[in-house]
């Protein structure tokens, strides 16, 4: 089963619902040491994406570009901007194609990770969304069965959260409170884990 426009639209629907559900969860996680707006960013962003889902073209590159633009329109926060950046990187890779294989998932996530790293100028290992994406890319590398990709992606994201929980934040607003951040999940990693879970279906 390859990924096409229909699969993308179905994924958007699940993801939008998940973000409505996680509004408070993410705001609270961000509010612990940041400005408490991450739920707002994700909920608003996915609402905008979902509104445009019907009109998405068959070209997967153009479709993901439209999703990226919906995110940039809805918020200027760090996370919204990073999400848009990752989507744009994947969009570029898929330009002109109407389907892709599950086996390509790992590579696409790695592209997003790299683009977001370039955008945010943060290192890997800094306890951010980058570490979630990195773990997902690694966990899904070499896997081609769609169900296995989904399972590996979720496991990778969850394992990264566990692994980084007790490390200090080094990036964004929470960096100022690096010591206090030990023991707390990074809100951006938490959000990405929920994204992966929702996409896995």
């Amino acid at each position: 089963m390859s990924i096409d426009r229909a699969a993308v639209v179905a994924g958007i629907t699940r993801l939008a619902a998940a973000m409505e559900r996680d509004f408070d969860l993410l705001n609270t996680a961000d509010g612990a040491l940041g400005d408490g707006d991450l739920g707002v960013t994700m909920t608003r962003g996915m609402r905008m994406v979902a509104e445009g889902a019907e009109a998405l073209p068959d070209d997967l590159g153009k479709a993901l570009l439209a999703c990226a633009q919906a995110f940039t329109k809805s918020s200027g926060s760090s996370y919204g901007t990073l999400m848009a950046t990752g989507l744009m990187a994947m969009a570029k890779a898929l330009k002109g194609r109407e389907s892709c294989e599950a086996a390509e998932f790992s590579g696409l996530v790695a592209l997003a990770r790299d683009a977001m790293q370039a955008r945010g100028k943060a290192e890997l290992g800094g306890k951010t969304v980058l570490d979630s994406l990195n773990a997902v890319a690694l966990a899904t590398a070499g896997v081609s069965d769609p169900a296995a990709v989904a399972t590996a992606a979720v496991q990778g994201a969850r394992a990264a959260m566990e692994a980084f929980r007790d490390k200090p934040a080094t990036v964004g607003r929470a960096r100022i409170f690096a010591e206090k951040s030990r023991g707390l999940d990074d809100p951006g990693m938490l959000a990405m884990t929920e994204v992966v879970v929702a996409l896995a279906g």
């Binding site: 707006d37 633009q69 940039t72 329109k73 809805s74 918020s75 200027g76 926060s77 760090s78 919204g80 901007t81 990073l82 848009a84 950046t85 744009m88 955008r119 945010g120 100028k121 964004g172 100022i176």
Partner: protein
């Protein structure tokens, strides 16, 4: 401190509505986001475009400095929040008169990412963009790590100088170069006496005890150098000048402009009391003061406090600083 507002979510849109209603000959909205403010009388064809962007709550920064001899367009976010890359791209599109656009903004994570992204969006449209990031706050990182410093009131000088350079017909490389020179020649430091309230949050962002002040605090309440008992005006001014002059020593014959800026609630009476010491210190260093600016140039709504900004001049910067400009908040 109490605020006069309606629904906090409407704060920025209503503010912009009133701003444009009051000054239609200076400002108008561009695009459909409602968050891009542009010159009512655009610059001439072939002029280098100047854009900025950033959070609301700092009037006249950022939006206020859109005008002749200043900025062409500004993307404005919610209070203390970056505008989106799309909005910035709209600002860039308006500002482009075929000669490219300089993005001139403060050193904050969201703003940087979004302006980078906006640049990529408009790249497809054959608009050339350059960037100068303002990082003038000496309290936010040591000199060795200048690139980490926050951008504060020094951006007003950068807007002015880049705006004059663009107006004079220089090309994008030349405007960018002189804007970077102005940014490099700026040093700022702030001292806060009271917090302010982000409308959608509804309570003060941070806390300062009734008899204390915080030296070096940022314009959103980011931590500073020290928190201490409120000192006499002359001691406050003296320490602020110490820190600025340690970071950018002045020599006999230097020419500088200086901005003594209220963060909002602090009245001009207090700025003038401080200015005595600022002037004495600069003159003691052998410097000549050019066009001092005393007033509210870059604020954080109703926050009480002040910032000082020094701009070390050379003949080129001085000429551009003194060139005419006009917006609703400032005229030279």
């Amino acid at each position: 401190m109490k605020k006069i507002l309606n629904n906090p979510v409407d704060y920025v849109d209503e503010m912009l509505e009133g701003l444009i209603a009051a000054h239609p000959h200076f400002y108008r909205l561009h695009g459909d986001s409602g968050r891009v403010v542009v010159r009512a009388m655009p610059g001439h064809r072939g002029k280098v475009g100047l854009v900025t962007g950033g959070g609301s709550g700092h009037l006249p920064v950022f939006t206020g400095y859109v005008g002749a001899g200043l900025l062409d367009a500004c993307a404005i976010g919610d209070v203390f929040a970056s505008p989106s890359a799309e909005q910035m791209a709209d600002a860039i599109r308006f500002a482009d008169q075929g000669a490219g656009v300089l993005r001139l903004y403060g050193n904050y994570g969201g703003d940087i990412m979004n302006f980078d992204m906006a640049g990529e969006l408009v790249e497809f449209e054959d608009i050339t963009c350059t960037t100068v990031v303002l990082a003038d706050d000496v309290a936010s990182a040591p000199l060795a790590e200048r690139e980490k410093r926050r951008g504060v009131a020094g951006m007003v000088y950068a807007f002015k100088i880049a705006g004059a350079a663009a107006e004079s017909g220089r090309d994008l490389a030349a405007v960018t170069k002189v804007a970077q020179k102005a940014a490099d020649a700026c040093r700022s430091i702030g001292a806060a006496l009271s917090p302010c309230t982000v409308p959608q949050v509804g309570k003060p962002t941070f806390h300062i005890a009734e008899d204390e002040m915080e030296m070096g605090m940022g314009i959103h309440g980011e931590p500073g150098v020290w928190v201490d008992k409120l000192r006499p005006a002359d001691a406050i001014a003296g320490e602020m000048m110490d820190r600025l002059l340690a970071d950018m020593p002045l020599a006999k014959g230097d020419r500088v402009s200086v901005m003594v800026n209220s963060l909002g609630a602090t009245p001009p009476e207090e700025l003038y009391i401080l200015y005595r010491i600022v002037k004495a210190r600069l003159e003691a260093a052998g410097a000549t003061i050019v066009m001092p600016l005393v007033g509210r140039y870059a604020t954080s709504m109703e926050m009480a406090g002040v910032s000082f900004t020094l701009l070390k001049l050379d003949p080129e910067l001085e000429g551009l600083l003194k060139a005419p400009c006009e917006c609703a908040f400032w005229r030279v």
